[in-house]
């Protein structure tokens, strides 16, 4: 079988890729292809000209200054195994290690996961809680977009046509003295592996020496048209210990933060309950160390 594709262009550097994308408005970038090939095969997407971005050297993962910088073409497998990611963004390492199964992780890229803009994209919640920004390049320059502002709706981003994500930066914000960073991700689906999340949730905070939480950030996937932050639940937890009354109140407040829908994977009501359970579970884990 051949996919309905008329040309695959194979640029060797970023500049060449950007001009190929600029020259042909119908050209679409392809990285791992784990979303795009599925869409092309099912004729859910028309993309006759592909620009393969696999040879542009965009797969580096490194600490640069005050940020952890992950190339857009880094695979989920390399992110999950990276010592730097596990140290500075453990929730992202966990999420990457739960995208599909291992062979998918060896192809699927971070840039593709974000640009595909599924509300269930597993790397989105941990990037939202980490305050990550993407760097996007176009022929005449580049710009930075907070991951929070990248998503427009299901399957759509605010990237301009021909604009390429080149990397994702996670600020290395230190925690106060004596405090410990907690950074966790959990997803729920009918099976542990090879499933698209019914709901996913990330929590990032500083656990202070007195047992209270500071700088609490919560994000939820698959519970709104885009992955979202959860300000109501965050403010309930700020300055309080993660167990006890705050834990129950936060799970309730979370309901204001989300707007799930009924779809093939679950009804909205189930998603609401599941999001509360996931938050409760993570807070339980955090309060028990």
């Amino acid at each position: 079988m051949n996919l309905p594709v008329e040309a695959v262009l194979r640029p060797r550097d970023l500049g060449e890729a950007l001009s190929m994308l600029a020259e042909d408005p119908s050209a679409v970038p392809v990285a791992g292809g784990t979303d795009l090939v599925v869409q092309l095969r099912a004729r859910r997407r028309h993309a006759p000209v592909l620009v393969d971005i696999g040879a542009l050297g965009l797969d580096r993962i490194a600490v640069e200054g005050n940020a952890l910088v992950i190339g857009a073409a880094a695979t989920m497998d390399s992110i999950a195994r990276s010592a730097a990611v596990r140290e500075h963004a453990p929730a992202l390492a966990t999420a990457a290690g739960q995208v599909g199964a291992w062979p998918i992780q060896c192809r699927a890229t971070l840039g593709g996961n974000l640009a595909n803009a599924s509300p269930a994209a597993d790397t989105a919640p941990p990037l939202l809680t980490a305050g990550a920004t993407v760097t996007a390049a176009f022929p005449s320059g580049q710009r930075r977009i907070p991951v929070l502002d990248l998503f427009e709706g299901p399957g759509t981003t605010r990237l301009a046509p021909g604009e390429l994500i080149t990397s994702v930066s996670i600020p290395l914000d230190p925690v106060p003295a004596g405090a410990r960073r907690v950074d966790r991700f959990v997803k729920l689906g009918p099976r542990r592996e090879q499933i698209i999340s019914v709901v996913s949730l990330a929590v990032r905070a500083a656990l202070l020496a007195d047992g209270t939480l500071a700088d609490v950030r919560i994000a939820v996937g698959a519970a709104a048209p885009t992955p979202v932050r959860a300000p109501a639940a965050e403010s309930v937890l700020e300055g309080r210990p993660p167990g006890g009354a705050a834990r129950r109140e936060a799970a309730r407040a979370l309901q204001e933060d989300i707007a799930p829908i009924d779809d093939i994977r679950a009804p909205a009501r189930y998603r609401r309950l599941a999001a509360a359970v996931l938050l409760d579970r993570l807070l339980g884990e955090i309060s028990h160390g």
Partner: protein
């Protein structure tokens, strides 16, 4: 239209060159252009693992990989896994453990399993997690996991 694309591979250790349609999947290049029909197509959508091959040493679903993206890469299929010594230790352990029934999943399964061993993963729970994308409707997995554990322990044996 449909300008053919040259794809050079080190395929099972041998340098090969193919001229393929731009929309060719790696799976079809292997099965139809290279005649290596060991690799199977199950779902065609990345979900079953039957089409798994090693691309530059990593297991990937060849049904989702564009052949055009593989120019210059090393590909290993089930036909090339064992090398001159015969079959791979995991293949032998699968046979010995009774981990093969209809055999449709086996070519993909052995590629992922070989990569698990190559990565030095020995904890049974981790081995099972890494194999979770290779679906098998016959064996119930117990003997498959047992074979992988054995192959890991025996090294070459």
């Amino acid at each position: 239209m449909d300008e053919r694309i040259v794809v050079r591979l080190v395929l099972n250790g041998e340098e090969r060159s193919f001229r393929v349609a731009p929309g060719r999947r790696l799976l079809d290049l292997l099965r139809e252009d290279a005649g290596l029909t060991g690799t199977k197509e199950g779902c065609g959508a990345g979900e079953c693992g039957a089409c798994t091959v090693l691309l530059d040493g990593r297991p990937v679903p060849s049904c989702l990989v564009l052949a055009a993206s593989c120019d210059g890469a090393a590909v290993v299929t089930v036909e090339g896994l064992g090398g001159p010594a015969g079959s791979h230790p995991f293949q032998r352990a699968l046979v010995a453990s009774g981990g093969v029934q209809c055999g449709f999943c086996t070519p993909g399964l052995v590629m992922t399993g070989a990569a698990v061993l190559e990565a030095g993963v020995t904890a049974p729970a981790d081995q099972a997690r890494l194999l979770s994308g290779n679906l098998c409707r016959c064996t119930g997995y117990v003997k498959v996991f047992e074979a992988l554990r054995r192959a890991g322990e025996d090294g070459d044996g």
